[in-house]
Structure formats: structure tokens, C-alpha cells
């Protein structure tokens, strides 16, 4: 049990710091509109790739640095300390490209992997549909074979970044006559293909991160199939395996910032920091958010010993999303009536807490709802039996 850096880790951290300190002018920020931010992030991604700091734990063969999971985390920690946003490439490099590396042809990998690592090409994930969210295997977008190509028809939804992506990883129904998990196939698609239409979704938080994506007779060659026909579910599980480990990152304002705010917030003749109820609520928030952060270090230790992270990594997002919602509400409410003012120039932390309050409901749903994550823990970690599934072994076309 040693929480400090090992000599090798300390050496790597020093290297990462030296690199970041030499590039202070290149570090991306949150300023400007989306396109401006994307341009800066792309440039930064290319600089990192040239210096061996992009996709650190990937093999060198695919543009990575051949490093360890721990090194990836150390670099991410150092980037985060300097306020570098973690944006635009997470879905592509975390989820789509590992799938491409496992299932695409040599030539496709040569064309696509390096470009994605350098930030030249951005990827999105086209899984969810209006009728298939938590029950992802219920997708209805169909792919019909026509000679050497496939024709896609249907609608995807909740697609982050579809509007600036070059490629998408898409799962489609290729055989409606077999039970739902068996009739799907995975493909990748150029987002500028004829018949692809992207429409932004206006979120309850006011932001626009997600899209609806419509496929109207979109024709793609069979070479863009990833995995065997009918094996789409297996490929999707492989892709999503990576999402869980990412989902536990820290969210919201820090413990020190929360306490500093509490000290400035009047309650009666004292402050919020003297209020027993708030101190107790803070403690519960602290032990849970800190607890999942520390659990992530345990997962990393297991990974550095060669173990593969299992479904237990699901606890990260389950805890942090809910705790973010709770603490945001507590801090906003503690402002009294003033707390209802959602104006960045007037609100606490320039509106960041209000933003978290309106954004956190989405985090509790995206990438596995709280309820689905609890099912995963109960079934895959604790080994409890699945409930009855009415559509099990039923041909897909007969299901609702």
C-alpha cells in the first residue's frame, strides 16, 4: 500500500510536467465558440502525438506511446491541473478506435487510426435510438445488403459531437427474423455520406452537445463492416467496455472551493461552514466522491498488474453524477432566494454550480442510467439472476 509515485512514476511525471511547461502557449482552454475550441484541441492533440503524449497506453504501432495505464493517468492529472479541457476526442479514442483496431482491415487502420490519434479526424458513436436507450439491443435502424454494399435506414439519437465528427461507429439491424441480440451488425460510416442528416438537440440545460442523426438510404461498402454479420452485439460490448473506466472522473467544484464558499455564505449570525447540517452533508458528499476516486486508483493498480477492469468500474459514474446533483442543489439553495439567479455575472462560481445543477440529470442518464448501472452491479458483480425478459428468444420482428 503506497500512495506515492514510484521512482519510475515520479520520473514520468517530471517528464510530463517539463513537456507541459514547454508548451504553455499551446494549451487549449474553454474560451471561444465550439469550432474555435475544436481547432485548438486538434492542434494540441497533434503536438501531443508528436511527443508521445497522445494515447499513452496504446502500442506504438498505432500511434500510441506504448506506456502504462498509470502513465496515462499521470499525464491526464497534470493536464487537468493546468485546466486543459478533456473534450472532443474521448469517444473516438476511448471507444471507437479501440474497436477499429480490433476489427478493421490493415489498410483501414493505416488510414484512420493515426489520423484520429493526431486529432485530424473526429469520431462519434451511433448506438442509441429513440426506441432503444437502456435496452440498446432494441435498435431498429436497419442495414440491408445490396451486393457488395449495405443500405442504412433509420434514426440514431443522443449522438455527442455528430455535428463535427468525420466518422461514426454505427450498430444496425441486419436480421429481424432472429432474436434481438443476434440480428445486429457493426459498421463505420463517413458522416458526410449522402443521406446522413444531423440535427442538434436542445438540452434542458440550454446546451447543445447531442444530436439526432437520420439515415436515409445511406449506402456503404461491405468493407466498412466491423466484425461478422450478426455479431454486432459482441462488438458493441467490446466498444462500451472502455466507457465505464472513463465514467468516474471528478466532477464539479472541489472540496476546498466548496468549503471556501461555505465560509463566505451567511447563515444566521454565522456561516454555512458553521452549520451542522451542512457540515454533515459535506462529509457524506466528500467520502463518496473521494471514495470513488480512490476506487479508481485501486482499478489502476489492478490494471498495472495485468488485470482487466471488470464491471465493478461501473460505480464511478453512478456515484459522482448523483453526488454532483445533490451538492449543486445544496450550494445553490444555501444562497437563499438569491440562489435562483442563474446569471453567470452574479451567481456563485460564475454560474458553474447552476450549470451543474441543470446538467447533472443528463449525466445520470448518459452512458448507462443509474438504474442500469445498479442492474449491472447486481447481475455481473454480485451474481444475482436476471429478471424475466419477455422478448427473449422471440424473433425481433415480433417484439415491441
Amino acid at each position: 500500500m503506497d500512495f506515492s509515485d514510484t521512482p519510475q512514476e515520479a520520473e514520468y511525471r517530471a517528464k510530463a510536467r517539463a513537456f507541459l511547461n514547454a508548451h504553455t502557449d499551446d494549451l487549449p482552454t474553454l474560451a471561444g465558440d465550439e469550432l474555435a475550441r475544436l481547432a485548438r484541441q486538434r492542434k494540441w492533440q497533434a503536438i501531443k502525438a508528436d511527443s508521445g503524449f497522445a494515447c499513452i497506453s496504446w502500442p506504438k504501432e498505432w500511434g500510441g506511446a506504448g506506456g502504462t495505464a498509470m502513465e496515462r493517468v499521470i499525464f491526464a492529472e497534470e493536464e487537468a491541473k493546468r485546466g486543459v479541457p478533456d473534450a472532443f476526442f474521448g469517444i473516438g479514442l476511448g471507444l471507437c478506435l479501440p474497436t477499429v483496431i480490433k476489427y478493421a482491415s490493415e489498410q483501414q487502420k493505416q488510414e484512420m487510426v493515426g489520423a484520429a490519434v493526431r486529432g485530424e479526424q473526429v469520431w462519434c458513436q451511433l448506438f442509441s435510438e429513440p426506441g432503444a436507450g437502456s435496452d440498446l439491443a432494441g435498435i431498429r435502424t436497419k442495414a440491408v445488403r445490396d451486393g457488395d454494399s449495405w443500405v442504412l435506414d433509420g434514426q440514431k439519437v443522443w449522438t455527442s459531437g455528430a455535428h463535427y465528427s468525420d466518422f461514426g461507429l454505427i450498430i444496425a439491424r441486419t436480421d429481424p427474423d432472429v432474436p434481438k441480440h443476434k440480428g445486429m451488425t457493426m459498421f463505420f460510416v463517413h458522416m458526410d455520406s449522402h443521406g446522413v442528416e444531423v440535427r442538434p438537440i436542445h438540452q434542458m440545460s440550454g446546451g447543445v452537445e447531442f444530436n439526432e442523426v437520420f439515415f436515409n438510404e445511406v449506402r456503404i461498402p461491405d468493407e466498412q463492416r466491423l466484425g461478422e454479420v450478426g455479431e454486432g452485439w459482441k462488438v458493441a460490448i467490446y466498444a462500451l467496455m472502455n466507457e465505464r473506466v472513463q465514467g468516474g472522473k471528478e466532477r464539479g467544484i472541489s472540496a476546498a472551493e466548496t468549503i471556501a464558499l461555505a465560509r463566505k455564505t451567511p447563515v444566521g449570525n454565522a456561516t454555512l461552514a458553521d452549520d451542522g447540517a451542512f457540515r454533515a452533508a459535506f462529509a457524506d458528499w466528500y467520502v463518496r466522491t473521494r471514495g470513488v476516486q480512490l476506487t479508481r486508483y485501486r482499478t489502476l493498480t489492478a490494471m498495472s498488474r495485468g488485470q482487466v477492469p471488470g464491471p465493478e468500474a461501473s460505480i464511478g459514474k453512478l456515484v459522482t453524477a448523483f453526488e454532483l446533483q445533490q451538492m449543486s442543489r445544496l450550494l445553490v439553495e444555501a444562497q437563499g432566494a438569491y440562489g435562483m439567479i442563474d446569471d453567470d455575472d452574479m451567481a456563485i462560481f460564475q454560474g458553474k454550480v447552476h450549470h451543474d445543477l441543470l446538467h447533472s440529470p443528463g449525466i445520470r442518464i448518459a452512458g448507462g442510467t443509474d438504474e442500469i448501472l445498479r442492474n449491472i452491479i447486481a447481475e455481473r458483480v454480485l451474481g444475482l439472476p436476471k429478471g424475466p425478459q419477455a422478448d427473449k428468444d422471440v424473433p425481433f420482428y415480433q417484439t415491441r
Binding site: 500512495f3 467520502v287 476506487t295 456515484v319 438504474e371 452491479i377 454480485l382 424475466p388
Partner: protein, 374 residues
């Protein structure tokens, strides 16, 4: 970073688990629970001493094995899993820690007796209703003699020696070492929520008392005990959850296993999350304790707050998952429920530790700012 136990520590765990599964089935816990005349399981205690467990973390010059507290917490977790009815925490996490941190050469001789199993400790803080508060301590020492009443004192009937919080002649509240075999000491057993880790009322009437350490010694003692007891709680919480899961897989209602219903699944998934959160905080706590880190006050508070919650939730919902059978005396579920409550209150309640956690995080953040400014 290596945020896990070593291979040697895992071997120690396997041996400890095998030993305790054989020697400490729940019938042993019940035999102490159901007999008001037994303060602890003397036979099991002798066996633990024989295995070198009380000596494990003590220095070699005092007959100890010179191992770390991280080794010790492996034993703590295993003792917690089986709800061992022995005064291990009071002796090893509290009394021995105090002697090692602050004992004089003469006082430290007690460590030899702990290693040999001839000394059992207890921590006497509480005097009545309410959280420990220096302002309300009435026990006092004058001319080297302690007078006052302490209750409840966990393991107070089993103990040979007490660590007592009392005022000295200047009115400063501090810890004293007190031998309990003196004629001026009167003890009686109290009815408590968990008689398998019983408690006593102890009345001191001009009893010889020997001051130990500085006035602030109680803080590191509480922090260390919080971390090590957190491992007992994590062990108990894990076992309570395992029993609930086993039952939910077997028990059928409305034609299927009750564990296939989401109402049960989500409850037990929440228990799993609580246990993982508590385990990770406990790991951080034991690291901070062994490394002598200035993060110990916040790490210890976090370990205790999360472990209290995890054990309480798992014990409570394990009974609920078992349904009516879980409410019977014969089922083991109430043993976990009872132990979780007593460990909750043994070294300051969760309420006390939540407040302490806020203070510790605030102080650490301020020190951190000061360090950055330099």
C-alpha cells in the same frame, strides 16, 4: 503508486480467514452474546495470542513481530467479517498505539504484556449521554489519583488496563493509564446493543493514574482507531452483503428468485457501492497512518464516516432482504446489525466524525494554500 495489499499481506489474509472460519463460527459469537457473565471469548483470545496477532504490530524489543499497521488492518478486516467476540481493537488499536506513540520507557513495558496476551486494554472516554467533549469531562486526577465514573467502556469488563480521559490538576483534559485490578476500581457490566463486545460502568475512587503523552494525544489515538476499526466494519459489511446475496439467489417468491427483482437488486447494488467506497477510504486511511502523512486527520475521518454508513446499511438491508426469517433470534443477521451499531458509537459517533471531517478538510486546505504561497 500501489493502492492494494502486497502478496505477503494477501497470504496473511488467507491464513487469517482460514483460521477464523474454523475457530470463530457464529455459534462462538452467540455464546458470548447470550451469556451475561462472559465479557469475551477467552479461549479464542488465547488462540489469537498464540498466533501472534496481539504481537504483530508491536516492536521487536517488546516481544512483537515489528510488522506494520497495514499488516494489522488485514487482521482487523478478517476479525470484522466473523464478528470476533474479543477485545482486540481496544487492546491493539487503542492501548498499544498509545503506548507506542507516547509511552515512557517504563510505560512501554506494557507492550510486552500485550504481545504475550497478559494485558487487555480499553478506552474510557464517555461519562454519560452526548458526544465526547473536553468541556464536559468530570473525571479528574489529583495527586496521581483518579476519581470519576466512566460509562459505557467497551471491553471494560475484559480489560486489565484502561486509557482514561480525565482532567489533570490544571484542568487540562488528557489521557491517563490506569491499572484496573486496584481495589479502588468498581466495575459492573452494562446491558448493551451488542453484548458480544460488551461494555462496563467503571467507577474510580482515588485510583492510581499515570499520565501518558501530551494533552493532544487523544486525537492521533482516535484517528488510528478510526482507521483500524473501519477495516473491521468493512469486513462485517462485506460478509453481511454476501449473506444477503446468497439468500436472494435461493429464496423464491412469485415463481422466481427474489434476487431477480430490481427492488432487491438495487438495494444490494447500493450496499456494494457503499462497501467499495468504504474500503477505498479505509485503504487511504491506512496508508496515511503508516506513512505518517499530514492527510491522516481527513483520511481517518473519511474512513470512519464511510465505514459506519456501509456497515449500518449492509446490516440493516441484509435483515430486510431475508424477510421474516432475518428477524428471528436464530438467524445471524441481527449479530451484524448489533455489531454495526456498537462500532458506530465506540470511538465517537458518525455525527461526531462528520463534523470532525469538515474541520480536517478545511484545515488541510488552508495548510495547502499556505504551502503554495511559500
Amino acid at each position: 503508486m500501489n493502492f492494494d495489499f502486497s502478496d505477503e499481506q494477501e497470504m496473511l489474509r488467507n491464513e487469517a480467514r482460514k483460521f477464523l472460519e474454523g475457530r470463530c463460527p457464529s455459534t462462538r459469537v452467540r455464546s458470548v452474546l447470550e451469556d451475561p457473565h462472559r465479557a469475551y471469548d477467552e479461549e479464542l483470545w488465547a488462540e489469537l495470542v498464540g498466533q501472534g496477532w496481539t504481537a504483530l504490530s508491536l516492536p521487536e524489543e517488546h516481544g512483537g513481530l515489528g510488522m506494520s499497521r497495514t499488516d494489522l488492518c488485514v487482521l482487523a478486516e478478517e476479525l470484522g467479517r466473523v464478528l470476533a467476540p474479543v477485545p482486540f481493537a481496544s487492546t491493539v488499536y487503542v492501548l498499544a498505539e498509545a503506548l507506542m506513540i507516547a509511552g515512557t520507557e517504563v510505560q512501554r513495558r506494557k507492550l510486552d504484556a500485550i504481545a504475550a496476551g497478559d494485558c487487555i486494554g480499553c478506552l474510557a472516554i464517555s461519562e454519560g449521554p452526548g458526544e465526547p467533549s473536553f468541556d464536559r469531562i468530570e473525571a479528574s486526577v489529583s495527586g496521581g489519583k483518579l476519581t470519576g465514573t466512566k460509562l459505557p467502556v467497551v471491553d471494560g469488563m475484559a480489560a486489565t488496563d484502561a486509557l482514561v480521559l480525565a482532567k489533570d490538576e490544571d484542568g487540562t483534559v488528557r489521557l491517563f493509564l490506569v491499572a484496573l485490578d486496584h481495589q479502588t476500581v468498581q466495575r459492573e457490566v452494562l446491558d448493551t446493543l451488542d453484548p458480544s463486545r460488551g461494555a462496563a460502568r467503571i467507577v474510580f475512587d482515588a485510583t492510581p493514574a499515570d499520565p501518558i503523552g501530551e494533552a493532544g494525544l487523544i486525537d492521533p489515538i482516535l484517528d488510528g482507531a478510526a482507521v483500524l476499526i473501519a477495516f473491521e466494519q468493512v469486513g462485517g459489511a462485506d460478509r453481511a452483503l454476501e449473506q444477503a446475496v446468497e439468500f436472494a439467489k435461493e429464496r423464491h417468491a412469485f415463481g422466481r428468485a427474489v434476487g431477480s427483482y430490481q427492488a432487491i437488486k438495487h438495494k444490494l447494488a447500493d450496499a456494494y457501492v457503499n462497501n467499495q467506497v468504504a474500503r477505498s477510504n479505509a485503504y487511504y486511511g491506512i496508508w496515511a497512518l503508516d506513512a505518517g502523512s499530514d492527510e491522516l486527520p481527513q483520511a481517518a475521518s473519511a474512513a470512519r464516516v464511510s465505514a459506519c454508513h456501509a456497515f449500518w446499511y449492509a446490516g440493516r438491508e441484509s435483515i430486510q432482504t431475508h424477510g421474516g426469517i432475518g428477524f428471528t433470534w436464530e438467524a445471524d443477521q441481527h449479530l451484524f446489525y448489533r455489531r454495526s451499531l456498537v462500532l458506530d458509537m465506540a470511538v465517537g459517533s458518525p455525527r461526531f466524525w462528520r463534523d470532525r471531517l469538515f474541520g480536517a478538510v478545511e484545515r488541510f486546505a488552508a495548510d495547502d494554500e499556505a504551502r503554495k504561497a511559500v
